[in-house]
Symmetry: C2
Subunit: 174 residues, 2 copies
């Protein structure tokens, strides 16, 4: 446009106290997540997978018998996006689909042994980073961080996430 490119005054001069005090959370969340998700990348490319495959495999492994609808709700992507990566995971023998028992329209998702092994290898890698972090900051900070992260989730979704994270295990299906 006509580009009146006036320079902005320094941030500290304008920011409200509230905005200023949030930059640390905003930025540390960015950096922690950046490094956290980068760990599994090398292993994943060995299998021809990306981060999307990782996410699907993780939650299928965590909650065997998961339905497509539930997985879509967790990942917040479209079914077309999910279908692409899921199809690859099934074709390569990492995930198995079974027709639901109570509701035969559903496709329940289960990890194969191979899928479990990969999912656990990836979790182990991320777990190493987490354990190193706990060594630095202590178990109390980890517990507090869990409470804080949980409080950062959309209010409508917290019950669902709590069940998934703390109440997960074998579900319905065969």
């Amino acid at each position: 446009m006509s580009g009146a490119l006036a320079e902005a005054p320094p941030a500290a001069a304008i920011d409200s106290v509230e905005t200023q005090s949030c930059f640390d959370v905003i930025e540390l969340l960015f950096f922690a997540y950046r490094d956290f998700v980068s760990d599994p990348d090398r292993i994943l490319t060995d299998y021809g997978f990306g981060r999307a495959h990782h996410r699907v495999l993780h939650f299928v492994n965590r909650q065997p018998g998961l339905t497509i609808a539930e997985l879509l709700d967790i990942l917040r992507i479209t079914k077309q996006s999910l279908n692409r990566v899921l199809k690859e995971l099934v074709e390569k023998g990492f995930v198995e689909q079974r027709t639901g028992v109570q509701d035969r329209r559903q496709r329940l998702l289960f990890p194969t042994v191979k899928g479990r092994d990969l999912a656990l290898a990836l979790s182990r890698l991320q777990g190493e980073r987490i354990r190193r972090a706990i060594e630095r900051c202590g178990e109390d900070d980890r517990q507090a961080a869990l409470r804080f992260l949980f409080a950062m989730i959309d209010e409508n979704d917290r019950d669902h996430v709590a069940r998934l994270v703390y109440g997960a295990g074998q579900r319905k299906g065969q």
Copy 2:
């Protein structure tokens, strides 16, 4: 590929204690980040921007006078990827580039007033979520979460991040 699709036994039966105890961090980090980055999306699309633009604008605003090399180190993307979004931010008048004073090879990045306003509007939105979280879990948990998140960052990068997050402000350049 001959597909012996044996089902894996339930996770609890195999997981080591160490692996098991990391699932909560892995998953809450995923859900918190998922919701955290989704807040600014609606505003961003109004401007024809995406999350990549947001990240660039945020750090340019936080550290006026940032160089391209420093920004690449923060974002961990290639200069080609950065250049695409940066060019759009400059063309639309949200970021201004100036030739470095001490080193004329460098292009120092500054937010325009327009850029600052947008960056702060986006931070404010994310700050609201953070403040709601603190209301739920308390200031102590926030402080602890910051320590935990910091410890999750690559060791080599912690000093750099600490300077950026806690020691940021106006830098070199006119």
